[in-house]
């Protein structure tokens, strides 16, 4: 079991409000990703759930029981830290065994569970090494091993992949995804990388300035962003925002068009402009256009496109994929 419920959770440091009243329901077995720019409070929110910080107000309910006043050890959660936070003076075996020793498990139980975790995570050959003798990816696996032996009701990941290089990050992302499929345990995962969020999550929680901007499945956020912040945060490259007559014509303060939902032509279209830079990646082409009277605009074209700097082009948004927002930045329903 691992359902977690946040009720009006608030956190202030002195007079600075970091978390401003968050309500959230996480169902058992869900993979939830907290995402947002740095300083949005996502790590703080995770630490509040972990019990490493005390809430200033509100309630945290774990498995139907109020856990607000319980210490980190009593909440039945396990955490994987960005810095791995392995015990440098202990072998890998003792690192993984530490939570079991703290729970006063018998030696046979400890040995069996450590062996099983090490098998799952390909660490069997490294059990007698110290963390200092391992690579970044191996250390991350040890940190995960230490978390899984406790059989927690939920896993908390605090930007676990940000210290790894790009190739390893993709591999570990897949491994964590597979781990979730095998264990079927609730996981809460904090990241600032929206690609990680989109690829791993059942449910994404987008945070902005200590409040939830939107909660939803990855493609819901992509297809129906509730507000300008989510529209701009989810998706890469970023959504183009257009103001002025083009927006007025569509009955909105501003409209958003994703780079991949814009057609580009050298002959005719709604917005004329000049190509500033074209990035040719082979599988796709990113074209950065200065649109007359609107400004910079990004277009993504599938495959190769014969466009170069200073070419004159015409852009046309696909009306069905266009997002309309009012002056307050909220979505205008179609």
């Amino acid at each position: 079991m691992g359902s977690i419920e946040l009720q009006q959770v608030r956190k202030s440091f002195g007079s600075v409000n970091i978390i401003k009243g968050v309500d959230l329901q996480i169902k058992d077995g869900e993979f939830v990703v907290f995402v947002g720019p740095s300083g949005c409070g996502k790590s703080t929110l995770l630490r509040l759930i972990a019990g490493l910080e005390d809430v200033t107000g509100g309630k945290i309910v774990i498995d139907g029981k109020d856990a607000t006043e319980r210490g980190p050890a009593q909440r039945g959660l396990a955490m994987v830290f960005q810095s791995y936070a392995l015990y440098p003076h202990m072998s890998v075996r003792n690192n993984i065994a530490f939570p079991l020793k703290m729970a006063k498990a018998s030696k046979e139980v400890i040995d069996a569970k450590v062996a099983r975790a090490a098998g799952t995570l390909n660490l069997t050959d490294y059990l007698d090494r110290r963390p200092g003798q391992l690579s970044g990816g191996q250390r991350q696996r040890v940190a995960i091993g230490r978390a899984i032996v406790r059989e927690p009701s939920a896993f908390l990941f605090d930007e676990p992949l940000s210290n790894l290089d790009a190739a390893l990050r993709v591999q570990m992302r897949l491994e964590i995804g597979e781990l979730h499929k095998t264990l079927k345990t609730t996981m809460i995962y904090v990241t600032h990388d929206q690609v990680e969020a989109m690829t791993m999550a059942d449910k994404i929680v987008v945070l902005d300035l200590g409040a939830i901007a939107q909660v939803g499945a990855p493609l819901d956020l992509y297809n129906r962003p509730d507000n300008l912040f989510v529209a701009k945060f989810i998706g890469s490259p970023t959504m183009n925002i257009v103001k002025g007559p083009s927006a007025d014509k569509r009955g909105a303060d501003c409209v958003g068009i994703r780079p991949e939902h814009t057609d580009i032509s050298t002959t005719a279209g709604e917005w004329p402009g000049t190509v500033r830079i074209a990035e040719h990646l082979g599988s796709e082409t990113f074209v950065y256009v200065d649109v007359d009277g609107i400004g910079p605009f990004t277009v993504r074209v599938d495959g190769e496109a014969p466009l170069h700097a200073s070419d004159r082009v015409f852009l046309t948004p696909r009306e069905s994929r266009l997002h309309r927002f009012n002056a307050a930045g909220a979505r205008i329903a179609a």
Binding site: G14, S83, Y87, R146
Partner: protein, 332 residues
């Protein structure tokens, strides 16, 4: 990039270093040499180097005249014991300052704490007044002292961590002799004079600020995330300190302990004033040979050599650890 130096410069720097080292070590060397001379040679002027009759007489004399093993035993028990107790107090203190520093004093709980502290002091003042003896002195002064403590206690309790650290170090700024009389009277009334417990207690109090300060700087080097991981793994506060913090800080703790033991071993003010025989450590052993008429330089030197030999050997054997501890964390 290595810094290139010419050979001549390197030789020069080396010679200078050896010369400085020799100057620093010379008094100890001279003491050891004098201890093997006859009394006559010891105070010959100009000093003799070669035409000396080397002898072990002084050592025989010193060892037969006084009970060296008792002094040595007292020194070991008092300096090591005091600092083990000191460490037991200092590790939690340094932990709290390094990992749970006071940053935001204004909270509901802290206000309640202040109220509780104020109430406790006022109650203490009232009790002192009620049980004050008939002669009346304590009936008045007890409560006055208690109430005078209020600003001091509050000042400390409401300070942020760096201020508390500074305050602790500031206690080392007052000369010990300033509090000799009250402490002597206190020791007399509590029957602590000339007891190992009393001397050890005094040495512990003397070193505590230094121990806490040093441990604090070592603990600061340990990433707080590792302690948080231990907390998530189900470790209690005690387990966190015993299984995670202490092993990680072992080099720092060892060098702190070593330095504190050396300081206690050489401490002469309190040990001389608070002991006579039973609890007297090696400092008193040396002092017993420096009589006012003291012309027995050779015997005094022999006693000094005997007193410093153990700590000198200890320091020699552990110098690598000591230097590592003192520069702990300077380079990752």
């Amino acid at each position: 990039m290595a810094i290139r130096k010419s050979l001549g410069r390197r030789i020069g720097v080396n010679l200078l270093a050896w010369a400085i080292g020799f100057v620093i070590f010379f008094p100890i060397l001279w003491t050891i040499m004098t201890s093997f001379k006859s009394e006559l040679d010891a105070f010959a002027f100009p000093p003799k180097f070669f035409s000396v009759h080397w002898t072990l007489e002084n050592y025989k004399e010193v060892l037969s005249r006084s009970n060296y093993p008792l002094f040595a035993y007292n020194s070991i028990v008092e300096s090591v014991g005091a600092n083990i107790v000191g460490l037991l107090i200092a590790i939690p203190a340094a932990w709290s300052m390094a990992f749970a520093p006071t940053i935001v004093p204004e909270r509901k709980e802290t206000r309640m704490l202040y109220a509780a502290m104020l109430a406790a002091i006022l109650i203490a003042a009232a009790i002192l007044y009620l049980i004050g003896d008939a002669r009346g002195d304590w009936r008045i002064y007890g409560p006055i002292v208690a109430i005078a403590c209020i600003p001091v206690v509050f000042w400390i309790a409401t300070r942020r961590t760096p201020d508390v650290l500074m305050w602790m170090l500031s206690t080392k700024m007052m000369p010990g002799v300033g509090v000799l009389v009250p402490i002597f009277l206190w020791f007399r009334d509590l029957h602590l004079l000339d007891t190992r417990f009393g001397v050890g207690f005094m040495l512990m109090l003397m070193n505590l600020p230094i121990i806490i300060w040093m441990l604090y700087t070592y603990f600061k080097e340990i990433p707080a995330g590792i302690l948080e991981a231990a907390r998530m793994d189900g470790a209690s506060l005690l387990n966190e300190i015993v299984y995670v913090l202490t092993p990680m800080a072992t080099p720092g703790i060892a060098s702190t302990m070593l330095l504190a033991v050396i300081l206690s071993w050489n401490e002469a003010f309190w040990t001389l004033n608070l002991t006579t025989h039973d609890a007297a450590p090696l400092t008193a052993f040396i002092a017993s040979y420096s009589a006012p008429e003291g012309l027995f330089w050779a015997k005094l030197s022999a006693a000094s050599t005997l007193a410093i030999a153990p700590i000198l050997v200890l320091g020699w054997l552990s110098q690598k650890q000591l230097v590592r501890g003192l520069t702990f964390g300077a380079v990752k």
